[in-house]
Amino acid sequence: MSSIISVANLSKTYGSGFKALKNVNLEIRRGEIFALLGPNGAGKTTLISIICGIANPSEGRVLVGGEDIQSSYRKARSLIGLVPQELHTDAFESVWATVSFSRGLFGKPKNPAHIEKVLKDLSLWDKKDNKIITLSGGMKRRVMIAKALSHEPQILFLDEPTAGVDVELRKGMWEVVRTLQQSGVTIILTTHYIEEAEEMADRVGVINKGEIVLVEDKTTLMQKLGKKRLTLHLQGKLAALPDSLAQYELDLCDSGATLVYDYDTKGDRTGITSLLSDLRTAGIRFNDLDTTQSSLEDIFVDLVRTS
């Protein structure tokens, strides 16, 4: 699949000497939803700011739709819609005026039908004449998305799109993002809600201390790094584990009522068969069992800790 954004050897050092990005290389594929994960201060926003033209890079090169963001900034920027993390709005403008302003700013001719569609898709139509200052935080966030979509971008950056948005609205926003993807828009989102990345993304990139630690298909990543946990609910409580089971590193929980076994799905042998056989030999019986896959969050925490 072709790249719509190509970041090569990108570094950013701030005036204070702080290195926010260190030799970042990243390819974003056309039409995908890419989730950029990273702890606070990892460089997510700096990376987005450089791609969108808000900050100057110190070194390196970025191509957007094959156009250099510096020498061919008009073409590059007109492809991008940006929803920044903070709620920056013109408090005294109406929703309609501010969204129409964004369209003009990006050099597009007036198109009230498009603005109407965007506002309706984001459930803002009945607020179109309201001043932004009168809107709730969730609505302001949607106004920012509407502004970014006003000029029909091919790429949409969502920097923490659902921060401070309630659960229902968040799901609504995910819907909007999916619909956009179906219409061919490439979406790059940064988020603290790992479940969001897990729910939405085709690929996941992890950035930490200004370096890209990993970029992977989400499903591959989960399979590759994912651990599973087998929980056995015992018939009777155990005071202690018999020595014959010592090799499995089992945890005895709930005052001896459940046994927990973590295993790696990457390994050739998970050890489940022999564990169950050894349990039987030891005379330990159970009523029920379940297995759970570790979440992207666990994977993420592991990665950030070790990088």
Partner: protein, 253 residues
């Protein structure tokens, strides 16, 4: 040229004027009327004529310049400072628009406002004193040149300022004194010789002198020098803005 973007910024800024009509237009008109009452009527009645023109009439160009200068700076500096303050500047910086177009939008709107304001004050002055403009085209040229130049200067202040205090500092501490000492209310020929020399270091003297010449054909310095000095200041402002955008000073770092 992204003319739609220039238009969008320009109309956005002009819309702000209509929203704040009292502050933008009415308040300068009221204060100018007060100047007429205080200087024109109260003091002017004791000064018969300055260089063949009645005192009330003499101060009209200076009063217009006073407002145009301060309002150009205030409008342009606030226009660009406010998006920086609220963070909405992100959109301007990420739009497919050149620096020149950004300046054209903001400075164009600020200058338009002060030109409108200057003309309103001129009309207001006409209610108080008889006016005759010898060179209306030159008068307009000086008005436009000054409005654009000082809007550019205001734009620079707006970029430089990182707080509301700094935003007020230059207009309050530098521009207002220069304007008052620049011959708004008197001919610098009325000053003692030493102070007259000092006054010639004040760029505002040249603006007011040239502007007054377009009204009454009386000037403290030659018209060519007035135009030259104003243009020089315009070029300095343009160079500063070019440097700001080239380096991303206080915008992109």
């Amino acid at each position: 040229m992204n003319h739609r973007a220039i238009r969008a910024i320009y109309l956005f800024e002009m819309a702000r004027t209509w929203r704040t009509l009292l502050q933008s237009i009415v308040s300068p008109v009221v204060s100018t009327s007060l100047y007429f009452v205080v200087f024109g009527a109260a003091i002017g009645s004791r000064i018969s004529q300055v260089e063949g023109v009645s005192y009330g009439t003499f101060i009209v160009p200076g009063l217009i310049m006073l407002s145009v200068l301060t309002q150009s700076i205030a409008n342009a500096s606030f226009g660009i400072y406010f998006p920086k303050f609220t963070g909405t500047i992100y959109e301007i910086l990420s739009a497919p628009i050149s620096y020149f177009e950004i300046v054209l939008g903001y400075v164009g709107a600020a200058a338009t406002k002060s030109i409108i304001l200057g003309l309103i004050i001129l009309a207001t002055a006409g209610l108080f004193v008889p006016l005759h403009i010898h060179h209306p085209v030159w008068m307009l040229a000086f008005l436009v040149l000054t409005a654009v130049t000082f809007s550019l200067f205001g734009f620079i202040i707006g970029i430089w300022a990182d707080g509301f205090e700094k935003l007020q500092m230059i207009p309050m501490l530098v521009v207002t004194p220069l304007t008052f000492l620049g011959g708004s209310f008197y001919s610098i020929d009325m000053l003692p010789p030493t102070w007259r020399t000092v006054a010639l270091l004040n760029p505002v003297v040249y603006l007011i002198s040239g502007f007054r010449w377009s009204f009454y054909e009386i000037a403290d310095v030659s018209v060519a020098v007035s135009i030259g000095m104003t243009t020089a200041f315009l070029v300095i402002c343009l160079a500063a803005i070019w440097w700001i955008f080239r380096t991303g000073y206080r915008l992109k770092n």
